[in-house]
Subunit: 220 residues, 2 copies
């Protein structure tokens, strides 16, 4: 462990400097930046595919997609009519410098809301500030009720926790009450939504919360 | 990226040295070591809870549990009558030195088979050799058919891929044929099993394959 701590500290410090720069830059352009983090397969892209059309007409949006390989997710976003930039990285998280480079590709016509779909990883992205306005943890309920206690950092630092795949709950053996209680214990301040991105259940409440946060960030 | 690559290389090199030491040490003691890796909530502990009783009477087993926080998983393993040592780490993966320290706690009566349940993370553990004999990737089918293409490294390096939660397939919208095809494309050499650790479906085939590998490793 000691080598890792010793080498990661300057990397994180450098990242924080880039993130602070991003934050000023996004504020000067009036861009609300939403960082969506989750384990692999929790449904980040599906949530975006459903959320983006619900915001259409209210805000111009763009999406930065992070993946180890493939541009499958950026293609899915473009199919709902929204600009997307794919980052492929060998890294286990996005960092502020990657986001700066990707955001710059949208500058000819800056979006009002910029979503960042982070690498599917419930651990590392929690350590890397991207200069975002809002941090969202998405969690698939079938991952199990105990996970907020076992991976507390990402839940704790999030402004919002979206519990997805509620359509699978009846078949999963997972108790929603136990999961909700564990989320509240770890992250008492976060807004919590239970949704099924696939069926659309619960999405209206999530989108209203998000729009209110976007208004606040953009100072209206 | 450049800082990260520059600092990780010596860490990985040091880890490889520890891993080589572990490998010799485990061989000298006749211990077959099985490293089980997956995203959070794919069912590693449940797979172990079901697998361990099926190996009882054939091999003495022990388990190293890796988690960011809690010792919930070690407690679950002990409840099926198997020795377990919990590692709690701020790190996003287990490394060879952590495993060496944890394995040493079993040395009064060395197990014949030592399972390592890695941190729930489909990215970082793939880069850290632990000195194990067999690498297993466990994957929850509801994470989606595209994931082997998006997180190829862990699948590619595994001796075995266990596709879990098949009981949820009918409700998930995931096509098993597409998932199997993507696993084969990324990892053509791996043994592949489809199981439901919860219902027990498919576990006998997985356990037979595992026992055969244990025999081979232990030179019988």
């Amino acid at each position: 462990m000691s080598e890792r701590v010793a080498v990661e500290t300057p990397v994180l410090k450098k990242n924080d400097e880039y993130a602070a720069g991003n934050r000023e830059w996004f504020a000067s352009l009036g861009i609300a930046v939403i960082n969506i983090m989750s384990a692999p397969g929790a449904g980040k892209t599906t949530l975006l595919e459903k959320t983006l059309p619900m915001l259409a007409g209210r805000y111009s949006c763009a999406v930065i997609e992070g993946d180890l390989q493939t541009d499958l997710d950026a293609e899915r976003i473009r199919r709902v009519g929204v600009r997307a930039h794919q980052i492929n990285t060998t890294c286990c998280h996005l960092d502020a410098r990657m986001v700066q480079g990707a955001a710059a590709t949208f500058l000819e016509s800056p979006p009002e809301v910029l979503f960042i779909e982070n690498i599917g990883n419930l651990v590392c992205p929690a350590s890397y500030d991207l200069g975002e306005s809002v941090k969202v943890t998405l969690f698939s309920v079938v991952e199990g009720a105990d996970k907020p206690k076992k991976y507390p950092k990402m839940f704790r630092m999030s402004d919002c926790v979206v519990l997805n795949k509620t359509d699978l709950l009846p078949y999963s053996g997972v108790e929603l009450d136990e999961l909700l209680s564990n989320v509240r214990d770890v992250s008492p301040e976060a807004a919590v939504f239970t949704v099924s991105a696939r069926t659309g259940e619960g999405l209206a409440e999530w989108v209203e919360w998000l729009a209110a946060r976007v208004e606040k960030v953009r100072g209206r």
